[in-house]
């Protein structure tokens, strides 16, 4: 029970940021804009969150800064690709490079500790809602094996952002499938000319989708540097933005399957930590790298159509030019 509880707990903890970013990518790509810059936005948001919190001594300002920076980058992406029909992939790659460089440059210049931000004290971190359940064995002792370790530590030991991430799945699903705005967003990713003919602005919808996504990416970045860790360190996203993109493709650009893919990737990540140096009966020691490589491998296999077809939105990656 204690072991299952801790695997469940860390799976949810590792899934949350992935899920937020994957949903952001989903919103953007369903509107027809490729979002390769997720990694960079997440990294910049993580830096902004930790730096602003350290400077203002306020969690709220940290969150505002994270979302603000992600939104600013989304606007740059939109300016290049929506307003000026630049290449969406190139723009995303550029944003990732700028974020990777700038976070370190500013970190060293402002805090002088090798690119890290100052360690946030406990009261300035985003902490668990019920701290008593933080340790699986302590939770088991207080409430019993099943209630304490499995349910308590596994499901109820998390911070607010984790629950928000899972709630966001329903939110994005509802938005896309049950609202007029969602219908238009989906339409603009499939056939922008039709949306244009109906008198709805294609650029406005695409900018809107990017900005909604930026809120989610901003929270994901803040989660990394304020909840999972107590400071920003260079390249701390370590490819999570790409994994999230992979999860979104794995989820075939739909919210609920994307949740399933994120949970799978989160679980693999948790197992990679759990199984480090453990020898399994009959199999032997599984190399950590093999588990780490699985999400990438699964994505390649899925995209190649070996486990069903992944069909992208039709207008994805195509800039829209209004007829004059």
């Amino acid at each position: 029970m204690v072991m299952i509880g801790s695997v469940l707990g860390s799976t949810l903890r590792l899934t949350a940021p992935l899920l937020l970013v994957a949903l952001a990518g989903l919103l953007s790509e369903r509107s027809g804009v490729v979002d390769l810059g997720l990694e960079g936005k997440m990294l910049a948001a993580a830096f902004a969150a930790a730096a602003a919190t350290a400077a203002t001594q306020s969690i709220a300002w940290g969150l505002v800064a994270a979302v603000g920076v992600a939104a600013a980058m989304a606007l740059i992406h939109g300016f290049a690709c929506i307003s000026h029909r630049g290449d969406q992939v190139v723009s995303g790659v550029a944003l990732n490079m700028v974020a990777a460089g700038l976070t370190v440059v500013l970190g060293i210049a402002w805090f002088n500790t090798g690119g890290q931000t100052p360690t946030l004290p406990a009261e300035l971190r985003i902490t668990a809602l019920s701290p008593g359940l933080a340790e699986p064995s302590a939770a088991a002792q207080a409430h019993g094996g099943f209630l304490g370790a499995l349910l308590g530590h596994g499901l109820f030991s998390h911070n607010l952002l984790v629950y928000m991430a899972f709630a966001a799945v329903l939110g994005v699903w509802f938005l896309l499938e049950r609202t007029r705005l969602g219908l238009r967003l989906r339409a603009v990713g499939e056939n922008p000319a039709m949306v244009d003919a109906a008198g709805v602005s294609v650029p406005a919808l695409r900018y809107g989708a990017l900005l909604m996504g930026a809120v989610l990416v901003g929270l994901a970045g803040a989660y990394l540097s304020m909840a999972q860790n107590a400071s920003f360190s260079p390249n701390m996203t370590a490819g999570r933005g790409y994994i999230a993109l992979a999860a979104m493709i794995f989820g075939r650009w739909r919210p609920l399957p994307t949740l399933a893919a994120c949970l799978l990737f989160g679980f693999l990540d948790a197992m990679a930590i759990q199984l480090q140096g453990v020898s399994l009966p009959g199999i032997g020691e599984i190399p950590v790298q093999a588990i780490q490589a699985l999400p990438y491998l699964l994505t390649v296999v899925l995209l190649a159509g070996f486990i069903g077809q992944a069909i992208a939105p039709k207008a994805l990656g195509r800039p829209y030019l209004k007829e004059r």
């Binding site: 290449d87 790659v93 700028v98 440059v105 990438y296 159509g305």
Partner: protein, 370 residues
């Protein structure tokens, strides 16, 4: 890309890229200012560090060598309509091939026999790592951008696994790197070559791979514009449907382009491992694959432009190291930032200023006529 604005060639190919580069550098200068340094002083140290001494120049050219290889790799793929973000992974995998050849293929061979094998292994492994995403795109319809990104991670993870578990140097060393290569698998440094001809050059990591890079430029230019296969490749890149109608096989061209692209990216392993380090290390590509994207964009996917852009990035890299060394609180990641800004302004926003130039040009022409 359809371009509604008719600009003369010299503006589109000459002025516009320079203007975009200038915008990127101005933004970079603002960042330097923001962190409390003088952009002018940083620029002086940068240029001086990269070009001011023969040793600095050696380092600059050594970095430029990597960028020529990855820039050509990205360009060849682009001519076939493919955006290869996987040069990083292809170079990493090529490094594995190179190390395996150098360490196990034929340890006793003399340099003249072993070196071609080592270079060939790097090219072969790089080509394979490019071919697989190419095949998946051409036959299974998966998107090359996503697949090559995934292959970057797969190559990196594989490299870590093999280095830690199979190739790691013995004797309880904490450093994660392979056994040193035999002497015969190492490329001579340029200052050693020069010494043989009685020329005295300061020692630097610049090695014979630089000559290989120039040969690669000539080869790519010849291949793309002077051969039938190169023509087919470009035809598929500019109009896949028409190319198919004309009897070409777009799928085969994708394979050719990605194999050649991967092999070119793989030459980074030759410059780094065979030329300088003499062993397989973790993350020896160090972002050169991504720099290749910026180089190719700046160089307009042409070998001559790529050499010029590679020199620019070589100056930025070597100069960046010197600036980080000279100015306290300045980090060499500034180079990555500048690189990102160049990709942003010269790549994604390349046409943002085009209307401005079109207006200026028509004003100028109107004035000339009237």
């Amino acid at each position: 890309m359809s371009n509604a604005l008719a600009l003369p060639r010299w503006i589109e190919l000459g002025i516009l890229p320079l203007w975009n580069l200038a915008v990127a550098l101005v933004v970079a200068a603002l960042v330097v200012k923001l962190i409390g340094h003088s952009p002018v002083q940083a620029f002086e140290v940068l240029v001086n560090g990269a070009l001011g001494s023969p040793r600095g120049l050696g380092y600059t050219l050594y970095y430029a060598t990597n960028f020529i290889f990855t820039g050509l790799a990205v360009a060849v793929a682009i001519h076939c309509g493919l955006f290869n973000i996987g040069a990083e992974g292809q170079a990493t995998f090529a490094g594995l091939g190179l190390a395996l050849a150098a360490l196990y293929l034929a340890p006793g061979l003399p340099a003249w026999a072993l070196l071609p094998l080592v270079v060939g292994a790097a090219a072969l492994f790089g080509a394979v790592w490019g071919l697989v995403p190419g095949y998946l795109q051409a036959w299974r319809g998966s998107h090359i951008v996503i697949t090559t990104i995934m292959f970057n991670f797969l190559a990196a993870t594989l490299n870590v696994y093999l280095l830690v578990n199979a190739l790691r140097v013995g004797g309880g060393s904490m450093v994660i790197e392979s056994e040193p290569f035999p002497e015969a698998a190492k490329l001579p440094a340029v200052h050693e070559l020069a010494a043989r001809f009685g020329l005295e050059l300061p020692s630097s990591p610049l090695n014979a791979a630089a000559l290989l890079a120039l040969a690669a430029c000539v080869f790519v230019a010849w291949f793309l514009w002077r051969t039938r296969a190169g023509y087919a490749l470009r035809a598929v890149g500019s109009a896949p449907r028409a190319a198919q109608y004309a009897g070409l096989n777009p799928r085969a061209q994708v394979l050719v382009a990605m194999a050649l692209s991967g092999a070119l990216a793989g030459m980074v392993a030759v410059n780094e491992l065979s030329g300088v380090q003499g062993k397989l290390t973790l993350d020896f590509v160090a972002g050169a694959g991504f720099t290749g994207i910026a180089v190719s964009l700046m160089g307009r996917n042409h070998p001559v432009g790529i050499v010029l852009a590679s020199l620019l990035f070589g100056v930025l890299y070597q100069g960046g190291v010197e600036v980080a060394f000279e100015l306290p609180g300045f980090s060499r990641e500034m180079v990555v930032t500048v690189q990102g800004l160049i990709v942003l302004f010269a790549g994604a926003m390349a046409m943002v200023s085009a209307p401005l130039f079109a207006k200026l040009y028509s004003l100028f022409k109107g004035a000339g006529r009237g």
